[in-house]
């Protein structure tokens, strides 16, 4: 083994294909995006250098404010629903006394394997203001809270985020369940012998030991929320107007609808930076808790 690890040329030789592929599909596009963000470019013509002009325009673009707000709401809904509820379900399914655990685990994961388009169409029908399941149910129960779920400029983003949260909750659940199962049972037994109730033992023992899992779950939930796109495109096409825009939707609009690729690249660069900052902050927060 030592002899093998000492052969740096061999390591380099075997790593080179992966490095090249990574360069072509990740590094090169990212560099291109950063490079093009400093230009006025329609995707076909010769680009003209614009310095920081695209970024200056972006920071005064009202769509950025809308997109950031929507990204924040989306991320919050994902965190609360996917991680919050995912944790509870993971703890329940990890309990050997719960009957039907296998069935529950499968049921929670089923939406993940469905097509996003199918799920969106399903929820479009559920959200229909006249004949949709939710409004009909509220009507039947005599609750006067019927809403225009997908046509309201303020509520529709929450309704759409919920669809994403519902569909991919099973994925977060699988990660959290694996995290719970990786904790040795002796810890829980020791806590129980010390007089802890089951839920208190989870609070004091299980959850703190799942820090690394949570770090990953929070990262994918928050960055996924900030960069959400597909559900908005399918369910409301970003509307009414631009009320459901996120930063990825901005990229789509400026690149493919307005042929303003330079500006779209600037939006993409800011999106990447915000996602990186979110990732760093999440890591710092979890690392600080560890220090305490």
């Amino acid at each position: 083994m030592r002899q093998y690890l000492g052969n740096k040329k061999a390591i380099l030789f075997f790593l080179l294909p992966a490095m090249l592929i990574y360069t072509v599909i990740i590094i090169y596009p990212v560099l291109q995006t950063v490079y093009r963000s400093f230009y006025n470019w329609d995707g076909l013509s010769e680009a003209t250098f614009n310095g920081l002009g695209n970024f200056r325009d972006l920071f005064t673009d009202p769509l950025l404010k809308t997109s950031l707000k929507n990204g924040g709401i989306f991320a919050l809904v994902l965190v609360v629903f996917q991680i919050g509820l995912g944790t509870i379900l993971a703890l329940v399914c990890a309990d050997v006394k719960v009957k039907g655990r296998k069935l529950l685990k499968t049921a929670y994961f089923i939406p993940v394997v469905l097509s996003v388009t199918v799920v969106c169409q399903l929820w479009i029908a559920i959200y229909d203001p006249t004949n949709g399941l939710i409004n009909r149910l509220l009507q039947m129960l005599g609750i006067p809270y019927q809403q225009h779920w997908l046509t309201s400029p303020t509520k529709s983003i929450i309704a759409i985020a919920f669809v994403n949260a519902w569909q991919f909750m099973g994925y977060q659940f699988a990660l959290l369940y694996a995290g719970v199962k990786s904790i040795p049972e002796q810890y829980m037994e020791a806590a129980t012998i010390d007089g802890c109730s089951k839920w208190k033992a989870h609070w004091k023992v299980t959850l703190p030991l799942m820090k690394e899992t949570y770090k990953f779950c929070f990262t994918i939930a928050i960055t996924g929320g900030i960069s959400a796109f597909t559900q908005m495109l399918i369910m409301t096409n970003g509307g009414p107007g631009t009320s459901n825009y996120t930063m990825t939707f901005m990229v789509y609009r400026y690149a493919f609808l307005e042929s303003n690729y330079g500006y779209a690249c600037a939006v993409a660069v800011v999106l990447v930076i915000i996602s990186l900052i979110a990732t760093v902050v999440i890591n710092k927060v979890f690392d600080r808790n560890e220090a305490v």
Partner: protein, 441 residues
């Protein structure tokens, strides 16, 4: 050893970055063809076999049959030309743009003004101004459709087959009778009143597939063209920095109608299938769509459907403006790639296909909305009554058409904000504020 190792890695990384940045530096600055004039590329001899790739709409009977007819006719007229069809996809011309970006444009392609603008700047489209074929085609256009061929910048980039299409207000005669609404509805107030009567009877007054933003612009443009004949063209005429008064008035009218309950509560989340289904199944009393809907409407509803002219603020304006068509004819049609090896032949073939497609639509389908004049008789026997009405009542009296918006940032702002007008909580002031922002850019 460690130092050598680090240097090797640093070298590899540096090379990778240099390679990436070098690739970044490359681009479309090179390879600038001349895309004007009357010849280009290496031309084939008169009888030499020429193969041309054509990117054309060919996804249903309406698009495939006229094209196939044109190709059959071409075989008789130019037997040395072989057409290879590349069926267009309905993707906002993204596939075509990808072809252009990768240098693979077909010899002839069907596209719209938005794409032509980009292709003109990037020299991917042949400017057709000086070709004899162009002069002949232009001289043979139907009245009022010049804007389909001559771009706002004064150049010709494509040969149009269709004329200027426009949006109509279709209505269900029986439902109108049942609700006691007399036609034509001439004013906005009458339309609002009709909406309330229809709602009281349990109908959705007007179904609109407002999930697609172009139809919300068309709906808004219908009222704007009553105020100013050029419609949304007012947003570019004279390069205004603020929303023109006519556009504000039209926004107020749309808002008034929305508040009167003219539209379904789910309008901005309704697609074409849902909206048309509501109309055809008698759940809604009116439908807005282009004149191309006539065939489906007549087929599904028979004599129970007709269209009316768009109402205006008062009867006098209605009478003055009812023949101002709610449709803007931006340039579109068959364009020729400036990279084609057989440009001269391609120009002739593009014009021929455009003309013959129009001929099929006019003679076989009885559709009068075609760009070139057709000197052949109509052979269709089952022309819908509404289409006949277009031919006899509307087109001969058409006073003019709206003007297409060229600037993409303004047209997308119009799309966004006209859709917004259809929902509660978005005011006319919001509309004006957003449009002013777009105009001041």
């Amino acid at each position: 050893m460690k130092s050598t190792w680090n240097k090797t890695w640093a070298g590899v990384l540096a090379l990778t970055l240099v390679a990436s940045l070098t690739a970044c530096g490359g681009g479309s600055s090179s390879n600038k063809p001349t895309n004007t004039g009357t010849s280009g590329g290496s031309e084939a001899g008169a009888n030499e076999k020429v193969k041309l790739k054509v990117y054309a709409q060919h996804f249903d009977d309406d698009t495939a049959k006229p094209f196939d007819y044109a190709v059959e006719e071409l075989k008789k007229e130019m037997p040395n030309v072989e057409i290879e069809l590349d069926p267009a996809v309905q993707d906002g011309f993204q596939k075509l743009k990808t072809y252009a970006a990768t240098g693979n444009l077909p010899d002839i392609y069907y596209t719209d003004w938005n794409t032509l603008q980009t292709f003109s700047k990037s020299q991917n489209v042949q400017v057709l101004d000086d070709y004899d074929t162009t002069k002949e085609y232009k001289a043979n256009l139907n009245p009022g459709v010049e804007s389909r061929m001559v771009a706002p910048d004064g150049h010709v980039y494509a040969f149009p087959d269709t004329g200027v299409e426009f949006e109509l207000l279709y209505y269900n005669k029986k439902i109108f009778q049942e609700a006691g609404i007399s036609v034509p509805i001439k004013t906005i107030d009458e339309l609002a009143e009709a909406a309330q009567k229809l709602k009281a009877k349990g109908y959705v007054p007007l179904s609109i597939f407002a999930k697609e933003k172009w139809i919300t612009t068309a709906f808004y443009n219908a009222f704007l063209t009553r105020e100013d004949g050029i419609g949304t063209g007012v947003f570019e005429k004279g390069d205004p920095k603020e929303t023109p008064q006519s556009a504000v008035t039209a926004a107020e009218q749309v808002k008034k109608l929305q508040q009167a309950g003219l539209l379904d509560v789910n309008a901005t989340n309704t697609n074409y299938d849902q909206a048309s289904s509501m109309f055809y199944t008698g759940k809604s009393a009116m439908l807005i769509n282009g004149q191309w809907e006539i065939y489906s409407a007549q087929e599904k509803m028979g004599d129970n459907v007709d269209f009316m002219y768009w109402p205006a603020k008062d009867e006098q304006t209605y009478e003055n403006m009812k023949f101002q068509m709610n449709g803007s004819g931006g340039p579109q049609g068959y364009a020729v790639s400036s990279k084609s090896k057989n440009i001269d032949v391609a120009v002739k073939v593009a014009a021929f296909i455009a003309k013959k497609s129009a001929e099929y639509k006019f003679t076989v389908l009885g559709n009068p909305i075609v760009a070139p004049k057709i000197d052949k008789p109509v052979t269709a026997t089952d022309i819908p009554a509404m289409m006949k009405r277009l031919t006899t009542d509307v087109l001969p009296n058409a006073k003019g058409y709206a003007v297409a918006v060229s600037k993409l940032s303004i047209s997308t702002a119009i799309d966004d904000n006209t859709q917004n007008l259809l929902v509660d909580g978005f005011s006319v002031d919001d509309f004006v504020k957003n449009m002013n922002r777009a105009l001041s850019k």
